[in-house]
Symmetry: C2
Subunit: 512 residues, 2 copies
């Protein structure tokens, strides 16, 4: 059966065929204005009275979704489905298997995995039995799965919701419930081959979604640790200082330095030494330069990291994506579990003036190597090295939605192909018999749930909903054993014998 597209022709072009934004039309951060129209109602007690148990009283309550969450409208669901299909088909192109894990985990499973962000985990109420928490990402459940089932090798993808009790700054498109799309490769392999594939996947997805220019920042936790060590940071403060460095994409070096010194008790001269490093970024030449750095080249960990990055850049060149990658010493990634290479993709906005640098308008994908996480779950501490990535689809959804709004394009929220109409009263029985025939032939069909609908109402509905075909049955047609088949776009009608109707509809749909 041929599939009709979900979108009108031009909307498709907007969604996936449009490389450039109209100048100044789209601001990546100004998203989700639809959710600000959320409505609050006081529910009167009267409305509940009949359903309530006699002795219970109920104060008025507000009807809304929980703070930081929202419903997704049919329009949003359609856009999401299309984007997720593209992401998942890329994951499958790279040989990944699907995996699904529960929405909640034992509280202890999530403990000690997220550093400073652990306070954002949603716990479930203790209703007797185990203490549970909603999953915070899809990575820790994956590691738990590998350890629990003694899986030593696996390439898997997982698309699912995760929950974080962030202060919701909805204007920035951050929600407390959001969707993640993860791809990970677990197993002991030769260095940097799976890591390079992860970066290739990020490039394929970001290019495929045509979100505009992007850049992937790459760094290595061992290089960062090496920097901290040669700058004189005490080892007990590595995680805390790493968290501070992680804020460099949102805060200036001055503010980050202040946090290190005033809040985290680092000596000012140590912070300054760190500053000299973490403000560097460049291509493979910066890797070579760091190899020559008199202090850093003395640190074993840093040298391992630099060696791997050099190899990584070789593979990225073979994949044809080296020019999309930037070695950026400020990239830290907040999560505790990373142990090696880390990366983050940011969208770039072409500046108004050619001499300015492209503007970073936000991270849309990230990941890295976490060789120690599975071992945290294994009774003997046996590790399974892992590397993976997560696509920040919520931000991508926002960008695409905003772009479609800018273009004023309407999305079809249903896929209905044929509407069954009548100009006459008392024709419900005939309509029901006819539509059942269409459904049984796999044709997507609707009718009006009225005994005697007006023809004009029925035709207007088809125009509003973008339904391409209408079959019309009336007394005359019934007498002659025919049906009128009408094209909504051209308004042309032809009479077709009842027995040829399904075949004719299928022919028309396969041609469109």
């Amino acid at each position: 059966m041929p599939q009709l597209g979900l979108l009108h022709g031009r909307a498709w072009a907007v969604l996936f065929g449009q490389l450039r934004r109209p100048p100044g039309a789209v601001c990546i951060r100004a998203v989700h204005s639809h959710s600000q129209g959320q409505q609050y109602f006081q529910v009167a007690e009267a409305a509940l009275a009949t359903q309530l148990k006699p002795h219970q009283e109920k104060s008025n309550f507000i009807i809304k979704t929980p703070k930081g969450t929202r419903d997704l409208s049919p329009q949003q669901v359609v856009v999401r489905e299309k984007i997720l299909d593209m992401v998942v088909s890329c994951f499958k192109r790279h040989g990944a298997k699907g995996l699904d894990t529960p929405a909640f985990e034992l509280k202890e499973t999530l403990t000690e995995k997220y550093g400073e962000d652990s306070g954002l985990i949603y716990d479930l109420k203790d209703q007797g039995g185990e203490l549970l928490s909603l999953r915070y990402d899809l990575t820790v459940p994956f590691a738990r799965y590998l350890a629990m089932n003694k899986v030593k090798k696996m390439k898997r993808y997982h698309v699912g919701k995760v929950w974080r009790r962030e202060s919701p700054t909805i204007a920035q498109g951050r929600y407390r419930e959001f969707c993640q799309c993860d791809f990970d490769i677990a197993g002991q392999f030769d260095p940097m081959i799976p890591d390079a594939e992860c970066l290739k996947i990020m490039c394929e997805i970001l290019s495929g979604l045509q979100l505009g220019d992007f850049l992937i920042k790459v760094n290595d936790r061992r290089i960062l640790d090496g920097i901290f060590a040669v700058c004189g940071v005490p080892e007990s403060k590595f995680h805390a200082i790493c968290s501070s460095v992680d804020k460099l994409d949102k805060m200036s070096w001055k503010d980050v330095r202040h946090e290190m010194v005033a809040k985290k008790g680092l000596a000012a001269e140590i912070a300054d030494r760190i500053g000299d490093y973490v403000q560097c970024h460049g291509g493979v030449s910066l890797v070579k330069q760091m190899f020559q750095d008199p202090r850093l080249s003395q640190n074993k960990q840093a040298l391992e990291g630099l060696g791997d990055l050099k190899l990584l850049f070789e593979y990225l060149t073979l994949f044809g994506i080296a020019e999309k990658i930037s070695f950026d010493l400020s990239l830290a990634r907040g999560l505790d579990y990373y142990t090696g290479v880390i990366y983050e993709a940011v969208l770039l906005q072409t500046p108004a003036h050619a001499e300015e640098e492209p503007l970073n308008v936000g991270s849309v994908a990230a990941g890295g190597r976490y060789d120690g996480l599975v071992g945290m779950f294994d009774p003997k501490g046996h590790n399974v090295p892992c590397v993976g990535l997560s696509i920040g689809v919520e931000r991508i959804f926002s960008i695409v939605e905003q772009r479609m709004k800018t273009f004023g394009e309407k999305i079809r929220t249903t896929e209905t192909q044929v509407f069954v109409a009548t100009p006459q009263k008392n024709f419900l029985q005939e309509r029901l018999k006819l539509i059942a025939e269409l459904w049984d032939a796999g044709i997507k069909a609707e009718l009006m749930y009225k005994n005697n609908p007006k023809l004009l109402t029925q035709l207007h509905y088809c125009e509003n909903m973008g339904i391409p075909l209408v079959v019309i049955i009336g007394e005359q047609e019934l007498k002659e054993g025919v049906i009128m088949l009408r094209s909504v776009a051209s308004r042309e009608e032809v009479a077709i014998t009842r027995e040829n109707l399904v075949a004719e509809i299928q022919k028309r749909l396969s041609e469109s």
Copy 2:
């Protein structure tokens, strides 16, 4: 780009082409044996020591998924995807839009909706802010959405997980986290037209999935209330007695009667009068018979229900599904919110002896009319009449998984089309360049993450994973500018020039 099937030919036949079960091979309730192999490990403190903060101590913990939940393996994910695709495509065939709501709601949103089952709701811990609960079904969030957005008319589907703190009897396939597939029609329409469509959808899905013979039981809450009234049940006990009747599919009338009398304080003679009714079931003739019932025909509510059922059977006849429907006075449905027609689909197992009745082997879909639920959320109590259905996909997943196990069929868990191999050492660079070409052409391809893998290992992997094609590159090929293309099934190899490789692969894939 042509799509390869996910399954080998015969597995498809098993999944969707097989109408009959082999005699005695499948027991619907004996499912999910895979989850019983769940492994528990003690995690040694040593493994955690390096990651733990210095002053924290941690007792050993067990690594597992929370009680009543489980991971879904890649095999399970593939089966699920196929089944959900079929269900959703049926919903779309009937013109439904997609909707998504958060995993949790304000606690108050769920209060007073589920009768005796309210104790099974998962609450979130009070971490400051709103009191929240995990959603218990997809119906109450839908009603909340309609009221909140003042939507008066909508046909929507929603596939998502819901959570219930049931005593998990995993052997029976009941989990605390499970997937629901809901289709609902909201709006003020002429009677029984949307209701009939819901039953048509249930028939299409159950026939389409080829689960064997099935039957849909239909009743009406107003008929039940009428029965309770004419039998002398006090109105305050209607909900409680309705809950007891609901257990008739799992308990004998004797036990249900005992519950009514001993636990719910109903007079024995009233219970006996109820028993005379609720043990009746039949077709449209039973509707007519009940119209003549001297007591019931005096009750206004019952007459309304019977009138609607009569109309419903007319429409079901036009849809060609009347013979699948049974008017069953024992059907009650536990949930508080139903107000009119209710229904439940059960699978039937052909009995060993022809003279026996077909065995009910469990409910796989259910629903009904709930005209008062939206009004519970509306400030002025304005109602939006609704009718809908929910497909019990978890049970369907179990049946299909069990059937595939019985047939010993292997499912492909990846969709990889081409494997890039080499017989020689030091050919990683060539392999990486080649595979990037394939990925960029949209071909699903994998390679081994090793510098020097053995050719036999590479070919074995393809056979195990069902990958149909291998491209082989070595020194000789590199010199001659060709690639060997090997069919895994026939083991035939042909040399193809490098520039024709992608086109040749695409041709082969489109033919297979």
